[in-house]
């Protein structure tokens, strides 16, 4: 049987092999990220059925937890690492031809490292390793944001670096405080002993971690780096940043709050924060004229909804949140990828430059529309299934507090509908300008059409047959909610 550790070890090795492959053949090098992610996807999917029954615990160097560094490949971790690998694979295929200039070798290495970091975050069972993988993820993304080397990119990367570094240091302080209190770093071990510690010291370390991870998770008001970073990066990077990277931050918060601390008292606050994030994101997206900034703000909005659903603390709510992580990942990756070649074609990121795109790039436009409809939560696309699950969970709690928050949050959905459908109108119902700089290199090659098309097909298929992922959602929610089972699985008997 394959071990989940391969999910981290193999792509990590491949990432560092990439420059050496590049010495032998430059064209072979650009396929390396795709190969690494294909491997990850196959392994993660093959492990998933087993993990749905019980988490797979990997102990390194023969030590048993809590002493060892260990991986906990539970349903949630494997589901998310499958998602990371899937999106990573499709974006890597897209990147083969999309990335044309700049330091290509570094792109391939950093791209793979970013995804290794994300995979590590969702699989680790150890708080310090969580931090390490988180740093791998963040540092690769700082560099990738500035990949183009133009002033906007460098500025965005710099700002991201400053805020991200502050966030990381807060996390580190939080972990340090916690370690000083309980004397262990294994999440399961902390979870089992955290109940006996007095409140205040514990809470302060939690506050540090929430504020720290919140930066990467794009929670309001910690998300100011995101619009610049996501819009300045090349589209393939934006796709993984929005589709994968920010989810890792949110996963870290959920894992820390639910499993490590079992801190249910902070959940209502997180729910409020989620709704505020949702509204602020959607409001800012509404007036954007820059398509990539718009998509970035829309990501903030969706993250808010996910955070809100995570804070419901019910099995349906967390299933809905995980489902939305999946559906938003697919849709937002699709949107950024489709936008990438549209921008190549017109040379502008202005929404008005998309006029008449339905005729000039029919497949990209159609896929873009599918992605936009899915994000809005229209049936029969996957976004509907996930948003429906969340709304059902909220009403299932029967709490006036959550229902009121939801009703406020639904305003965000209306705003979202307004700006996305306006773009759809630009694509299809506005005439293309007469004299158009027709850039032939803007034509989307097969390596772009296939991933974008596949994402659209996935969105429709899962939308029609939500049972495909539905089976894994329940166990994934239990993975977070059921602390006792988590502790028992990791610590053994």
């Amino acid at each position: 049987m394959v071990s989940p550790i391969l999910l981290i070890a193999v792509p990590l090795a491949l990432a560092f092999l990439t420059p050496m492959v590049g010495l032998a053949s430059k064209s072979a090098r650009r396929y390396m990220p795709a190969i690494a992610m294909l491997f990850n996807f196959i392994v993660a999917m093959s492990l998933l059925p087993k993990a749905l029954e019980a988490p797979i615990i990997v102990r390194t160097a023969g030590w048993a937890p809590p002493l060892s560094i260990h991986l906990v490949a539970g349903p949630l971790g494997l589901l998310l690492s499958s998602l990371v690998a899937l999106i990573g694979l499709l974006v890597a295929i897209y990147g083969i031809d999309y990335i044309r200039e700049g330091a290509r070798a570094r792109y391939d290495v950093l791209y793979t490292l970013l995804l290794v970091g994300a995979t590590g975050v969702v699989l680790t069972g150890d708080l310090f390793n969580l931090f390490v993988f988180f740093e791998v993820l963040c540092i690769s993304s700082y560099a990738l944001v500035a990949y183009r080397g133009d002033s906007a990119g460098v500025e965005a990367g710099m700002k991201y670096l400053i805020q991200g570094a502050i966030g990381s240091s807060l996390v580190l302080i939080g972990i340090g405080l916690l370690y000083g209190t309980v004397g262990t770093l294994s999440m399961a071990d902390i979870a089992s002993s955290v109940g006996s510690v007095a409140g205040s010291r514990l809470f302060i370390s939690l506050a540090f971690m929430i504020a720290g991870f919140g930066v990467e998770a794009a929670i309001f008001p910690l998300n100011a780096w995101l619009p610049d970073a996501h819009s300045s990066a090349p589209s393939s990077i934006s796709a993984v940043l929005s589709g994968v990277a920010i989810k890792a931050g949110l996963y870290a918060i959920a894992r820390v709050v639910y499993t490590v601390y079992g801190a249910s008292s902070i959940l209502p606050f997180l729910a409020v924060l989620g709704v505020v994030t949702l509204l602020v994101g959607e409001m800012c997206a509404f007036a954007q004229e820059d398509i990539k900034r718009l998509l970035a703000f829309s990501s903030i909005g969706q993250m808010g909804l996910i955070l809100f659903a995570l804070a419901l603390s019910s099995a349906t709510g967390i299933s809905g949140a995980v489902f939305l992580i999946i559906s938003h990942g697919l849709a937002k990756a699709l949107l950024f990828l489709a936008t990438g070649y549209m921008i190549y074609r017109t040379g502008s990121r202005d929404i008005s430059s998309l006029a008449g795109m339905g005729k000039r790039m029919p497949i990209m436009s159609l896929c873009f529309t599918v992605g936009a409809f899915s994000l809005m939560g229209l049936p029969p696309f996957v976004g509907f299934a996930s948003k429906f699950t969340i709304v059902r969970a909220v009403l299932g709690t029967g709490s006036t507090f959550f229902i009121t928050l939801l009703a406020i949050g639904l305003i965000g959905t209306v705003i979202e509908g307004a700006y996305f459908l306006r773009i759809v109108q630009w694509l299809y119902f506005k005439p293309a300008p007469e004299a158009m700089p027709e850039q032939t290199e803007g034509r989307a090659p097969l390596t772009a059409l296939v991933p974008v098309g596949l994402l659209a097909v996935l969105i429709v298929t899962i939308g029609l047959l939500p049972g495909i992922v539905g089976r894994a959602l329940g166990p994934a929610a239990d993975d977070l909610l059921d602390r006792a089972a988590y502790i028992q699985h990791v610590m053994g008997d």
Binding site: A207, L222, F373, L410
Partner: protein, 617 residues
Amino acid sequence: MSAQGILITAFAGAGLSYALGLTSARLREVFAIVVSVLLVCLIAITHGQGAEHVYYPDFLGLDLVLRMDALAWFFAITVSMVGCLSVIFSLHYVRGKEKENFYYFALLLVNAAMLGIVLSGDLLSFFIFWEIMSWAAFLLISYKRGRALDAGLKYVIMSILGSCAMLLALLYLYANYNTLVISDLAQQIRSAAGGFPLWVMLAFALGFGIKCALIPLHTWLPDAHSEAPSPFSAVLSGILIKMGIYGFILVMYGVVGLKLLLEVGAPWLHFHTVLCWLGAITILIPTFIALLQDDAKRLLAWSSIGQIGYIMLAIGVATSLGLAGALFHTLNHAVFKALLFLAVGAVEYKTGGVRDLNRLGGLIRRMPVTFACALIGGLGLIGVPLTSGFVSKWLIYKTLITEGHPFLALAALVGTWGAILYVYKLLHNMFLGQLPEKYANLEAAPFSMQLPLMICGFIIVLFGILPGIPLSVIGGIVGTLGFEPVTATLTGFGPQIGPLNTLNLCAAFAGVLLVIVAFRGIAARPKPVSQDDSYAAGAAAPAGKYHHTVRFYDPLERMTGGYLRDWVDQFYLSAAGKAKGVFNGVRRIYTGDVRTYVMYIVALLTFLIFAHTAGWL
């Protein structure tokens, strides 16, 4: 043929028509018509069947159910009929325009989604098909570009708002009863008490009210109906807004049930009474606004809102006659409003897109068939005896009077007077008077445009003379919804409901006709004079100048115009403007200065720790 087969045909038809259109335009047109006609036939033969079956087990843990019953059949046949006619009309209307493939796909998809709505046996399927209908309709409304884009956005934003309310309502039901299957809900909700049914009904009313353009939720309709392509305006006005009516009937009588419904609301103000009064307002204001319109399609759009008022009023009365009247009027309005929109569409098509009533006239000589059909449609809208509109309005008046609602009855009557005025304005300004010279050589509309008109006209007269045909179906539906069934004879009603016999009306009509013919025979032969003579009394006059239709009801306009601005629309627009201002303000949170951002991070951390020490968290 089961409901499932019908839906598969409808949705597959929409998809295939797109695929076929890629190979041949002609093939697609034939296919679209075949599918539409086939759907009418398939639904027709399921008449009288009742079935309920699960077609998608375990969708997100819920079983999706389809059902066929009398109410569903009635709406399904109306939807498929009007849908079919609009597809036939579209043949020439969109030929040679761009995005034909998309047009047929979206039109068939809207029709399929509406069939899905009425055949749904559970509220989740209902909602899913509802949403598909909403976005497909949005795409079609935007089809003509220009101002249509704003109309489309306005429609879809209101529509999403309504959908959110509906979603909350249906999941509120689910949270309480753990099922969304309509028949199960109807069983379980009987024991409900307190404010629960009221909240559910209010949220549903928001969703349905927006779709059927109940005042004050109507503001999307005039823009959307006038900017959409005409065959789709017929669908929008004829059946799409009726989905809101279907929703109201389904939730009020199919789910909540008559007994509970009569108790919903405060003791001194019941939910259904409020609905009645909203219906009355929805009759009055839009009727007078319609009078002042110069755009033929806008006039019809406002008239649609007014007619929805009749239906809502009749539903709200909550009597068996009222519901029968509402259902019958739904059918009638679908037919005659489709006819009128298509007739305007035919004129628009031939004149190259003119729908300004001040620039048309005299078309009766060039388009006699269109005029004859439009006349029948107009008479049906007014509710002249021997048209179907008469019978449905008769039922509504009858129940209002017997139940003792004189003010509501008066509102309905005033609405009819207004209808006479605006129908006259519409028909006169398009077809009567002097023919502008540029239209002197206009040809009649092609047969594929006249055929739907003639079918609609035939239905209006047929159901006007033999109202027993639709009433036999409607009477049964009323019976299944917890009322006393309405029994009608083929030509009217028996004495237990009230004396209405269309045979007598026919006889009276024939008598009057005879008198006129006889009078004309006895009187002196009329002497034909040139048209200019009758206008200018023999004086020399330049041709083409004496057809005054501008400012048609000028004194009335001066009297009422000040009051009849669409206050609600202005309110929404200013609210939207304010919201945009707020959004722009919110954007300033992101100053672009990284020092501020760092401060935000520190502020959140400080707040968390402070909140903990203060004991909030």
